[in-house]
């Protein structure tokens, strides 16, 4: 019955039904806004917690301190990386954060906690990219381990890991599409909502996919610009070293 109606509609009419009628485009925009909001909050939580995990691991590795915290974080990372994020979402939404009213916040916390386990790995590589001499110089000046970490190691590690962290944000934009499973209105949830009114999946799915694609492409473009900028400022400094050396020879 429904199919016969669809067959009678032109593609233009089906597109209008999916996007224009009853201002349905607003639904897509709301979904997109929520997707970006969840991803942004998640990446912020992920970076902060991920870096804390990495700092604890780094401290434990270099000084042997913080054994207990290190063990807890090890288990945390293993569990997070070893279970599907959809189940983590269910556990958060239905059990741990069941009393929380805002689904968006639940989604952001779930993906933030998930992301932290992966950011910890990125941050670890960031710390390993910093020469040991930086810590030694800080300590030899009388700064404490924590002061050296905050003032000297961390700023450099953050800069070195900006591209992979931004990449993590891009991944989150796509991965968060599963929050629709618990009724959160993100962009991934919109096609189903529209289909329930129009009985037509074709255009809602195409439109939502296209929106994801455009957002990811734009973010990727920004990422490339960022990478180029960072490597250029490195290269410039190398050239300056050479030039300064030359000036000194004269």
């Amino acid at each position: 019955m429904n199919l016969s109606i669809l067959n009678a509609m032109t593609l233009t009419e089906r597109f209008r039904a999916a996007f224009i009628t009853q201002d349905r485009w607003k639904l897509y925009l709301t979904g997109l806004g929520n997707t970006l909001l969840i991803s942004l909050l998640a990446v912020i939580i992920g970076v902060v917690l991920g870096y804390i995990i990495a700092i604890v691991r780094f401290t434990n590795k270099t000084t042997g301190k913080l054994k207990f915290l290190n063990a807890i974080f090890k288990i945390y990372v293993t569990v997070i990386r070893g279970t599907p994020v959809v189940l983590q979402l269910f556990i958060m939404y239905f059990i741990i954060l069941a009393s929380m009213k805002s689904g968006i916040i639940v989604g952001a916390i779930t993906f933030g906690l998930n992301s932290a386990a992966y950011v910890a790995e990125i941050a670890r590589s960031g710390f390993e990219s910093i020469d040991d001499g930086q810590m030694e110089a800080g300590r030899s000046l009388g700064l404490s381990g924590a002061q050296t970490m905050i003032r000297i190691i961390l700023p450099q590690a953050l800069r070195n890991t900006l591209p992979p962290l931004f990449n993590e944000f891009i991944s989150l934009v796509k991965e968060t599409a599963v929050v629709g499973y618990v009724g959160i209105l993100d962009l991934g949830k919109v096609p189903g909502l529209v289909q329930s009114r129009t009985f037509d999946y074709l255009f809602p799915l195409l439109i939502a996919s296209a929106m994801y694609l455009v957002v990811v492409m734009v973010l990727t473009l920004i990422l490339h610009k960022l990478e180029k900028y960072l490597s250029k400022s490195d290269r410039v400094s190398h050239e300056r070293i050479r030039d300064a050396g030359r000036a000194n020879n004269e």
Binding site: E136, G138, S140, G142, A244
Partner: protein
């Protein structure tokens, strides 16, 4: 009589089964300029690094102004008194020259609650003024706002020396300060070190610059296989060497 500023008693350090230091006993008096020479791998750098506990000695004691130091002592307080200059400068690339110099003194003074209360702003202003005076003295005042990556190796090392001086240390350790420099930049660093020496600083210098040892050192140590094989004035070490290993070493480097 003066008491030694820094001394070690039977200091040993091993990495796994490799014994790098095999018992170093040494008293360094205030104002002495001790230059340590010796072949690569003889333990010179490791000894310096044990003095400020960047390496933890396996055995033996380090005394500073008569007090026994250990990893459990307040090392941050101790290290303020013991400046260190590294082979690879180790300037902080994300900070300007000015920030490189003032970071530690400003951070320490803000944390120090024993002194009468001075506002953060005033501490910053005072330390920057002090740093500027030091930079002016070495002719790099115009580089205050520059980042290390824009400096030559010689400039970097001179900034590193100034950074260390800004803490008003009582002794300065130099770990092969000119080894990573292009030959034409060695002179400017050595002359700054000479200036620091002339100003009365107690110095312990690991270097391959024999001319610097002859000109500036009040005392030269020859280290080999983790022990001090010769200890004397530059004249005794360079002109009247007695130890066979020292003679062999000098014949190669002079």
């Amino acid at each position: 009589m003066n008491n030694p500023l820094i001394s070690t008693v039977n200091l040993k350090k091993s990495f796994g089964t490799l014994n790098v230091l095999n018992g170093i006993t040494l008293d360094v008096m205030p104002g002495e300029k001790v230059v340590i020479i010796g072949p690569s791998g003889s333990g010179k750098s490791t000894y310096l690094r044990c003095l400020n506990f960047l390496e933890i000695p396996t055995e033996g004691d380090v005394y500073f102004e008569g007090n026994l130091m250990s990893p459990k002592s307040n090392l941050n307080e101790y290290r303020k008194n013991v400046g260190m200059v590294f082979q690879h400068f180790n300037l902080f690339p994300h900070l300007t020259v000015m920030q490189n110099i003032t970071l530690a003194p400003i951070t320490m003074r803000k944390k120090d609650k024993t002194k009468p209360k001075v506002s953060s702003k005033q501490i910053k202003a005072e330390e920057e003024e002090k740093a500027m005076a030091l930079l002016t003295r070495i002719g790099l005042a115009d580089k205050a706002k520059a980042y290390p990556s824009t400096l030559s190796g010689g400039q970097k090392q001179r900034i590193a020396i100034v950074r260390s001086l800004a803490m008003n240390p009582k002794v300065m350790l130099f770990d092969e300060p000119t080894s990573a420099l292009d030959p034409e930049m060695v002179g400017e660093v050595l002359s700054l070190m000479k200036e620091v020496a002339d100003a009365g600083m107690t110095m312990i210098v690991v270097t391959h610059e024999m001319r610097f040892a002859k000109e500036v050192a009040t005392r030269v140590l020859f280290m080999d296989d983790g022990v001090i094989r010769a200890d004397g004035t530059p004249d005794q070490i360079f002109n009247h060497p007695e130890d066979d290993r020292l003679k062999e070493f000098l014949s190669k480097v002079l």
